[in-house]
């Protein structure tokens, strides 16, 4: 098969939609356009039936009851609803939330907002592997703690937190456990019962479904969890999320979940073999390092720093043909390198030198071969151009140089 360019290896940012998902959605735009809340005619019934079916498909993937699924516009909304909703709902019980420094911005910024509203937030540090310390977590719990918010799998490094141990600690202290599982659901088995999850955010477009739709799982028994709605309106979704149901997108999310349910196991195996092949080939380069735990990691993710070359400069060597992302500051609006990589204890220089690979359902072996060659070639070329590489090769300790900081 001829290799088609460009190659997409940024599946942590978003995934292409599976054509089977599109097919499932299409009837719900023009033909079956009803409002799922229209209770007294067939247009509404058809839409409601479609939403109910999707709710079952979603629930099945995570071993939940369909009634525990709240449809939202995506993981950012789900994160906000979980955090702010719990903070408001359980205000009489306490005001303290525990999270970690490597969480997604949607969680961190919602926590910042909660602090402004009078909440207390503890931000746990992570070790160089990217994992939180369970003892530190337990020690951080006070009689005011209402929620532990820790992500399932990290979006930048793919590191998977010890979810079951975390939920056991939460249970022991009568604290709710919320997890942002946007990168994990549909990629690895996520089971809200076995994992002891009380609230969980996830999104359609990270699992080959459409953008603009996601869900919040809210446990209904042992314990029964409630969140205060963050938007006022018609009282949809058991009063927790008002707004007319986005029926085609919800149908798409349902179908995406069904496909993941059927294909995830084989897919995770296929991708981890491919990811390891990519990673091992790139680690043949000198001074290349994997960021975060290799053991506790999503099967399709790899984050590698190539010392002495800068990430954006590196990507420029192949970004016409390969789509990737970097922890380099130059790729972000803030000019700050990745806070996740810095939280692992990486120096800014290594954070600037990182590439993130996110493999997906449509990644092929040919694409991986091409990527290995293109990246190796560019790293070698840029190192020939790098004053830092030359100094390193001359045995100069870069830490002893007084750099002029801008």
């Amino acid at each position: 098969m001829e290799l088609k360019l460009p190659i997409y290896l940024d599946n942590n940012a978003t995934t292409p939609m599976d054509p089977r998902v599109l097919e499932a959605m299409l009837p719900y735009f023009v033909e079956k356009f009803g409002n799922a809340a229209s209770r007294n005619h067939s247009f509404g019934w058809v839409a409601e039936e479609a939403v109910d079916y999707a709710r079952e498909q979603v629930a099945k993937l995570i071993n939940a009851d369909p009634k525990e699924i709240i449809f939202t516009s995506g993981a950012t909304e789900s994160d906000n609803l979980a955090l702010k909703g719990v903070f408001e709902m359980y205000a009489s019980k306490g005001n303290h939330i525990i999270t970690a420094t490597t969480e997604h911005k949607a969680v961190l910024d919602a926590c910042k907002h909660i602090e402004k509203m009078g909440g207390q937030v503890t931000y746990l540090e992570v070790n160089p592997e990217g994992l939180i310390d369970l003892q530190e977590l337990e020690n951080s719990i006070t009689d005011k703690t209402i929620l532990i918010a820790l992500m399932y799998g990290n979006n930048e490094i793919g590191v998977i937190q010890p979810v079951r141990e975390i939920s056991a600690i939460a249970r022991k202290h009568g604290v709710l456990f919320f997890t942002d599982a946007t990168q994990a659901v549909g990629k690895i088995p996520v089971d809200v019962q076995a994992d002891g999850i009380d609230l969980m955010a996830f999104s359609g477009h990270k699992m080959y479904g459409p953008k603009g739709v996601g869900a919040l799982y809210v446990r209904r028994k042992n314990p029964r969890v409630k969140v205060t709605a963050q938007m006022d309106g018609g009282g949809h979704e058991r009063g927790m999320r008002s707004g007319t149901m986005n029926v085609p997108a919800i149908v798409g999310l349902g179908k995406a979940c069904e496909l993941c349910m059927n294909e995830m196991e084989a897919e995770a195996k296929r991708l981890s073999v491919m990811r390891d092949r990519l990673e091992n080939a790139l680690l043949e380069l000198e001074e290349a390092y994997v960021n975060g735990s290799k053991e506790h990691r999503l099967p399709h993710v790899s984050n590698i720093s190539f010392k002495y070359v800068e990430g954006e400069g590196l990507m420029m060597g192949f970004n016409k043909n390969i789509a990737l992302s970097s922890g380099s500051a130059c790729t972000s609006a803030s000019l700050e390198p990745s806070y996740v990589l810095k939280a692992l204890g990486l120096g800014d220089d290594l954070a600037h030198s990182s590439l993130r690979f996110g493999l997906g359902r449509f990644t092929t072996d040919e694409q991986i071969d091409y990527t290995i060659n293109a990246i190796k070639e560019t790293v070698l070329k840029l190192r020939e151009m790098s004053p830092l590489w030359e100094m390193f090769k001359e045995g100069i300790d870069l830490d002893t140089i007084e750099w002029a900081h801008h």
Binding site: M316, L335, M385, S386, L388, H406
Partner: protein
């Protein structure tokens, strides 16, 4: 963000990558930037003592495509100029030539700083006082 054709050209075919012998008295070396900031440029000039002209210029840069292009362009502009003429290269000339967007202006600033640092190194080596550099606007 898309790069300009000129940045892509300098990145793909950089001019004057390399190292001059920094021990020679007619070679001036400027090393600016910091690894933590994601940009380090080393720019070197070799002055022909008979003519006073910059006979050769080389660079090595750790940085994004715009930083590489800025230093590559700077070495091209330096060759054939007198040291005094070289001092007049302004970072905004680089911005204009390469069509750098606002977020990449610091790359041109770094290139100007590197030129001035190399010239000062050359001056000091040859018994001239270092110039008081106001530095480009950061």
């Amino acid at each position: 963000m898309a790069y300009s054709d000129k940045v892509i050209d300098h990145y793909s075919n950089p001019k004057n990558v390399g190292t001059l012998d920094k021990a020679k008295t007619n070679v001036g070396t400027g090393l600016v930037g910091a690894p933590e900031c994601g940009d380090v440029m080393r720019l070197q000039i070799e002055v022909d003592e008979a003519t006073g002209l910059i006979a050769d210029a080389k660079f090595k840069t750790f940085g994004c495509g715009s930083a590489i292009a800025s230093s590559s362009l700077a070495t091209e502009w330096l060759k054939g100029k007198t040291v005094d003429q070289a001092l007049s290269i302004d970072n905004m000339d680089i911005v204009e030539e390469l069509n750098l967007p606002p977020v990449k202006i610091h790359c041109s600033v770094l290139a100007e700083d590197a030129i001035k640092a190399a010239i000062n190194d050359y001056r000091v080596k040859n018994g001239m006082p270092a110039l008081e550099l106001e530095g480009a606007k950061h």
